[in-house]
């Protein structure tokens, strides 16, 4: 690099790629995060899709974004605000500038800032930068479209195909800014387009052109960033989204349990990628059935469970509403079932592509009768693997439906995933009915943990009927006896209460915190980052973040009551706080609630928590 370039060494930096939903911003962001991860940086990504599939080109509603946060040490979130914003058109600049830091570098394609583009983006004047108060010194304005056309003029490609490569020019330029090794990107593209070498070649050519443009015109760049790799656990890694990690967790658990994996599902944003991922892996014996509706997705999974499979169904909040009757049937039939709820904004269709934690009370209580159901909430994209595995193990060993929760944010976001070794994971031993019980066995006999035995059809001597009507605890026959029903309700409850779950960890100033932050599920990264920032500023803060919601860890009450001030922070109007108050006598926390469909903003959390401490 030239000497006159100002090189800034940073611990972490966030880049946001934004453009029209057809501009390939997700791919550009994805390649950039892979390159960064490959050189050992910590990564966290967040795709921000528009709700419309194909909004009019250049319109404000059609803007798609992809934020990549890279760090020398662990990064917990995709970052509140970005250091570099790529805006491929005027609408992207208009809608995405609010995610940029005040001193951020802005890259724009001037060819997409023409009069028509500005009108579509509802700019009032012909100078969008001035209109938005952006300092021109921070802007790398380049004629990306024209340069890409020139670059591929001799390729024989049609204009439409050529324009699809614009994202790669932006990527090349960003790679220059971060001093990234382009070979990693080249290899990525060669593999991605292995069947279309011409496309790979064109993309590679354009990335190089973008990089060269950056190198040749460095004076217009405000900064060049360098992110060193500091501490990192050695091992082999891959980039994984939460949904993919969820699918992998199910596959791993099925293999460990020696069972066929069955997924009954119905497409729904943002959970569909779990169905997509599992549908690919038939060579592992995975069976996926895309059903006629959400109801059948869950019902067919329950049928598969009865028949002896590890059965799961995947959905989002609106689907849970429809699945609740079969989930309830699973409770009374006491069959294993994993219900995956990738939460999105509600009620009803709500905000399909956005993220919330508003399904918690629904999955805990949204059924008729006394229907206790374990709930596990994954905390990050990579944690979806461990949590999905734990959900399968719990369902199979305790003969119960289990809800695995994630949300749009961690489901679509990604992180560096250290390849797991299945041998290190705990065994999964379903309570199959022992052969010696033949002749005396009835379906609701229980082991010491109050779990009934599993007799899979095909086994001679164990024919039986299960169903939605209350059964006698001893004979398994239909019973309306009042004492028996009371007993069965208590048994189904105690079976769940007896499930062992790990203690909740307290991170940070566990001994002497002035404020304990409490959260659950997908907000872990933001709450952790907020705690780190406050502790760096000298505050005494701790974090207790819950993965196991039902049953709650045994140390819950002790942890919650240990600190003078406790705040429960969640992306709803206080559902987890309400649940904790119900479960822990005398627990009266402060609350931080937000239902915006967007991830928390760390700086806002810090400000609110600081206020609480000083109160």
């Amino acid at each position: 690099m030239a000497n006159d370039v100002k090189i800034e060494n940073l611990d972490q930096v966030a880049v946001r790629f934004s453009g029209d939903s057809g501009d390939g911003m997700q791919l550009a962001g994805n390649i950039f995060s892979t390159i960064s991860a490959t050189v050992g940086n910590s990564i966290s990504t967040f795709p921000d899709y528009p709700a419309d599939i194909r909004a009019p080109q250049g319109s404000l509603t059609g803007v798609s974004g992809f934020q990549v946060h890279i760090g020398a040490e662990k990064v917990y979130t995709p970052g509140d605000l970005c250091d570099v914003l790529v805006a491929m058109n005027a609408a992207a600049l208009k809608t995405q500038y609010k995610y940029a830091k005040p001193n951020a570098t802005i890259i724009i394609d001037t060819d997409s800032f023409q009069k028509g583009d500005l009108e579509k983006a509802q700019f009032a004047t012909e100078d969008p930068l001035a209109e938005m108060g952006i300092d021109k010194d921070r802007v790398i304005a380049c004629s990306i479209t024209q340069m890409v056309k020139d670059c591929l003029a001799d390729s024989g490609m049609d204009v439409k195909s050529i324009l699809k490569c614009r994202n790669m020019f932006a990527l090349g330029l960003v790679c220059y800014l971060f001093d990234r090794d382009l070979n990693i990107a080249f290899n990525f593209l060669k593999e991605k387009f292995a069947k279309k070498p011409g496309v790979a070649e064109a993309n590679i050519k354009v990335i190089q052109a973008g990089y060269d443009f950056g190198a040749n015109t460095h004076s217009s760049a405000a900064n060049v960033y360098r992110i060193e790799t500091k501490s990192k656990e050695p091992g082999r890694y891959m980039d994984i989204t939460g949904n993919k990690a969820t699918a992998y967790g199910l596959i791993a658990a099925a293999e460990k349990a020696g069972l066929r994996l069955y997924l009954g599902s119905y497409p729904i944003t943002p959970a569909t990628d779990v169905l997509h991922e599992l549908s690919k892996h038939k060579s592992l014996g995975v069976t996926t059935v895309q059903c006629e509706d959400e109801i059948a997705g869950c019902a067919s999974a329950l049928g598969a469970s009865f028949a002896g499979a590890l059965a799961a169904t995947s959905t989002s909040g609106p689907g849970i509403c429809l699945k609740s009757e079969a989930m309830n049937l699973a409770v009374i039939m006491e069959l294993p079932l994993v219900v995956i709820d990738v939460q999105r904004g509600g009620p009803a269709t709500g905000l399909p592509t956005k993220s919330e934690q508003t399904d918690l009370l629904q999955v805990l209580f949204g059924r008729n009768g006394e229907t206790p159901m374990p709930v596990i909430a994954a905390t990050s994209p990579t944690d979806c693997f461990d949590s999905a595995y734990a959900a399968c193990k719990m369902a199979l060993e305790h003969m119960t439906p289990v809800v695995f929760m994630s949300d749009a944010y961690i489901a679509n976001g990604s992180g560096a995933f250290k390849l797991p070794n299945l041998a290190d994971y705990p065994a999964i031993n379903p309570p199959y009915v022992p052969e010696e019980m033949k002749g005396t066995w009835t379906p609701y006999m229980r082991n010491s943990e109050d779990v009934r035995y599993w007799a899979v059809p095909g086994r001679e001597g164990f024919t039986h009927i299960l169903g939605g009507l209350e059964k006698d605890s001893k004979t398994g026959a239909i019973s309306t006896n009042p004492e028996n029903h009371d007993l069965m309700c208590r048994l189904r409850q105690s079976k769940i209460d007896k499930i062992p779950v790990p203690d909740v960890k307290v991170e940070g100033d566990a001994d002497d915190a002035d404020l304990l932050i409490v959260g659950f599920g997908g907000t872990y990264g933001h709450l952790h980052a907020a705690m780190d920032e406050m502790r760096a500023a000298g505050k005494k803060v701790a974090l207790a973040h819950f993965t196991y919601i039902n049953p709650l860890p045994k140390n819950t009450a002790a942890v919650l009551k240990k600190y003078k001030k406790v705040v429960v922070a969640e992306q709803n109007l206080g559902q987890f706080a309400a649940f904790l108050r119900m479960k822990v006598d005398g627990f009266v926390p402060a609350q931080y609630n937000e239902v915006k469909g967007q991830p928390f903003v760390v700086s806002e959390l810090v400000e609110a928590f600081n206020k609480l401490i000083s109160k």
Binding site: G285, S300, L419
Partner: protein
């Protein structure tokens, strides 16, 4: 010969009302099962909710008495994940065609190897007498005191409309006819709908009166048999002939009509046009068609799903979780 007798499939004491069609059907099912000879522990009988959905409680097989309307969906997962099971789905007209209508048509469309028994008494019995989706227009019930103002489903029409490949019909009191139909359903690979016409003595007495006795069936029904000419009547004096786009009833010997002029039943014909016409016949002008009306071979969903798994296993190089991980872009941190 089967090594089982009807007793091997029997369990418990049915609690339906005396005279209910379910009793007759259950007895025929036990006998049919014995003749079919699949071991009780390789059979799953899955029902929804309703009077007839109590049936799995009286079977010495594996069974599930599930939730209203979902039996076909639950049976689907059961069959697809464990294809060696013989899976029977038991539903009434409310369970199967109202709340479960969506699952009924999709199980037929996908052609899942389920034996789908539809016990049709044209009434909701368990909730004490409301009209069902098969009750005729104008039907007076507790929830339609002035008569319904809607047309009923005809199960065959729905099955054919959903691309069903097997449809048969029997009367609950006709044991030989019912057993024949159940055996044919078992022999058919794929979704096999058997409509069982049955009486509800309490809330819809006499609903299938014209064919409920053997005398009635002689007059008012025709037994269809593949490859046989369509003859019916107390003295086999009537037949069915094609008449342009329609079917007509003719009297043998009148206007020179002989047996050779009659339609010969073809249950295996891919095109379901005539089969549908037969299934839709009703009195008093036409006999009600009984027996196997349609029985056409087609690929089944459960076999195709499992065959595809085998194909992909042979084609792909990764077969366990550790190998799956290696299919990703991996980097190493040292």
């Amino acid at each position: 010969m089967s090594e089982y007798t009807a007793k091997d499939y029997k369990k418990g004491q049915p609690r339906w009302c005396p005279g209910c069609g379910d009793h007759f059907f259950l007895a025929s099912l036990h006998k049919a099962m014995a003749e079919i000879g699949v071991a009780p522990h390789d059979i799953a009988v899955i029902s929804g909710i309703g009077c007839s959905s109590r049936l799995p409680h009286y079977m010495a097989t594996y069974g599930m008495n599930t939730i209203h309307g979902r039996a076909a969906a639950i049976a689907t997962g059961c069959k697809v994940s464990n294809p060696k099971l013989s899976v029977w789905q038991i539903s009434g007209d409310g369970d199967g065609l109202a709340i479960g209508g969506n699952h009924f048509i999709h199980a037929n469309r996908r052609n899942i190897d389920l034996k789908m028994i539809l016990l049709n008494n044209r009434i909701y019995g368990l909730t004490k007498g409301q009209y069902s989706p098969t009750s005729p227009r104008g039907f007076v019930s507790k929830s339609s005191p002035y008569g319904t103002v809607e047309d009923p489903f005809r199960p065959a029409e729905l099955c054919f409309g959903a691309r069903g490949h097997f449809f048969a019909r029997a009367v609950a009191t006709d044991a030989p006819g019912t057993i024949e139909v159940l055996k044919a359903a078992h022999a058919h690979k794929g979704a096999a709908v058997c409509e069982i016409l049955q009486n509800c003595v309490i809330f819809n007495n006499g609903t299938h009166e014209s064919v409920y006795t053997s005398e009635g069936r002689k007059k008012n029904a025709i037994y269809l048999e593949h490859g046989k000419p369509m003859i019916f009547g107390e003295n086999n004096e009537f037949g069915l002939m094609q008449d342009g786009f329609n079917i007509k009833v003719v009297k043998l010997g009148e206007n020179g009509v002989t047996e050779k002029d009659l339609l010969v039943h073809d249950a295996h014909c891919q095109d379901n046009t005539l089969q549908l016409k037969l299934a839709m016949m009703e009195g008093p002008d036409f006999p009600i068609a009984l027996g196997v009306i349609r029985d056409v071979e087609a690929p089944t969903y459960d076999e195709a799903v499992n065959a595809q798994i085998e194909e992909v296993k042979a084609a792909k190089k990764y077969h366990n979780f550790a190998e799956l991980l290696e299919t990703n872009d991996i980097w190493e941190v040292k």
